[in-house]
Amino acid sequence: MDTALTEGAASAALVEHFGEALSALPEGASLTLAHPSSPAGAFNPGGVTPCDDNDRDAAGPVFLTLNYWVSGIPEGGAARNLDAIAAHWEGLDRPLVRRSTGGGRTAVATMPDGSAIVAHDNGRGSLSVSGTSACFPRANTGSADQPEVIDRP
């Protein structure tokens, strides 16, 4: 657990990592909470989850999760763009896990600060980028300011 980490700092760090992933994509790409074509698919604002399954410890550590859709890329480009992000991470020597399940493909990169960024092609034309922080004290939650749109740097 990173005792100094706050939800705000965790959010800012994840957004920075998202920007790094975006830089591997073509110009015009951005990350959005809204799905590029389906209003039903909008992601909710991020939130924290307990690191331990222990209802007796309401103050136990938590981690932050944020989700975004990749917007502004041509239709049919999800697989190619997932590979571009993964290749970018490989070039930066980020530890990387790739997997395929149920028609979808996923690349998980671990960042030096202990957070993980997940790029996921759901096999149905949509590419998402999500991030999860290291664990931090529940007392440090609150005041995270999550942008609705992250533009390509």
Partner: protein, 572 residues
Amino acid sequence: MRPALTQLRGWNPQCLNGSADELARAAAELDEQIALVVRGVDGVLDIWHGDAARGAWDRAVEERSAGNRIAMALLETSSSLRRGAATIESAAAHAIAVIDGALDEGFAVSDEGAVTAPAAGPGLTVAAAGDAALAQRVLDARARELAEDIARALDEVALADSRTAATLTDCLAEFDLVPGERAPDPRVQDIVDGRSTLPAGAAELHEFWTSLTGEEKDALFAHDREVGNRDGLPAADKDRYNRIHLEDLQTRAAAALDAVNARHPGWGAGEQVPAQPASNSRDEKAWKAWAEYNAWRGERELLLAKIDEYGAVHRAIDAGSAPPRLLMGIDGDGRAAIALGNPDLADNVATLVPGTGSHLAGIGGDIDRSARMLDAATRADPLATTSVVTWYGYNAPQSIPEAGLDRFAERGAPRLDSFQDGLRAAHQGQAAHQVIVGHSYGSTVIGTAAVGDGSLDVDELVFVGSPGVNAEHVSELHLDGVNAGDVGAHVYSTAARWDPVPYLGDATLAGRHVHGTNPTDPDFGGRVFASDPGDPGPLLGTNPRVHSEYWDLRNRSLEGMGQIIAGMGGPS
């Protein structure tokens, strides 16, 4: 209108909570008085007959109806006051923080929120390459920024204030409607008079309930404060009545605690607490005092635990603005259910059943897990809407030895079955894709509801880190509308390699598994989806922490759950 700073600093929104408590107590007292009147008239009717007696009874029923309406309006007003207090307090605290921040930076803030920059000091002038005018312009620009921040914050306070006032005005208008009330539907009157009951089945109850007016629903709530827990009611109505019921439970628990504390004002503060007599003491007075203290302490701790639980539920339903949170159930016995998103309107509806150690004060953690599953389902299918219910509708075992017992599952199973029937009955439009996800002992509850004569009205079952589901083979589980031979295609399980709980489930007692075959065992016959193994630990390689890691974004299990909930089929 924006409040002035002096006004803002003088506000005490907590006063609204005090008023809310008083109104809730008044509603409870009114309830008791109404019951007294009706019981009184009812009592004399055994010896009093004829037109006058009938007239007295009709009048008593009328008074009860009007009284119920007033009690309902009192509770609504109490609830609005509490919500208003929280909203105004939060907005005011934010505004004061912004203002204090400006003051800390050395800016002057007027009572109306205007910001004036200080004169540029030598340090800033040096930083501006000796250009004093430039340094002052920088400060003035910052003053404008701060003024905008303060204006926005004060606007939020004004908005919270005016919204609370508008809601209270609506509540007060309810009181005006009381004299002109129409006679309720005879079916409702019969229920309120105790001559009949609500339909028992979820589908029948849904049909009956949706034929009622708002006033008739209110009358049924006034008659039975737990009506919001009845399966088959629309989620929006459950939420409305259960929120009021929660406030009522909180008020009653707080009043009961006050009464317990008042019996021994010093004991709560640790003063004059009777000492435990020596084991060989024959001092009867000392033993009596010690026994009385222990009984008092037990009663107090129980109430404190209840207040803690209700507080956790209250925080959980008020947390976050999206998706909407609906209180699908709440009772005074440690059970509740909270939906993320409206299950009546969603394409996919999942129910999370927690396991050993779960108790109401910790419901927030499982709601967080439900939120991660909702995200995962959205990633899998962004064209569909999903709702996830965190179901604390059973009293879970609180220790590993207790988790070896079936009785917790056996008590929870009928409730889970009924809850699923209610979700199905209340759903609007095309039937939802309905899934239950059980973690740990929660999977045992699900299995218990689906074996023997039981059958669940759901499309898929998901067992996560399961110690067994009280079945040796998937064919023993029953799902409504699914042929026995096809059930295996609808039952999914996952277990991380180093999660100890599935190994505990593999243990045998007198030659049989404690809760049946591990559902990830190939002999069980269900579908298995992958989880990351987790890090090995000291107990033969197992690591208790791994049992909690299924909802980590990195873990492929979360992706699998998302695909199953979204009806995309199992991950291969």
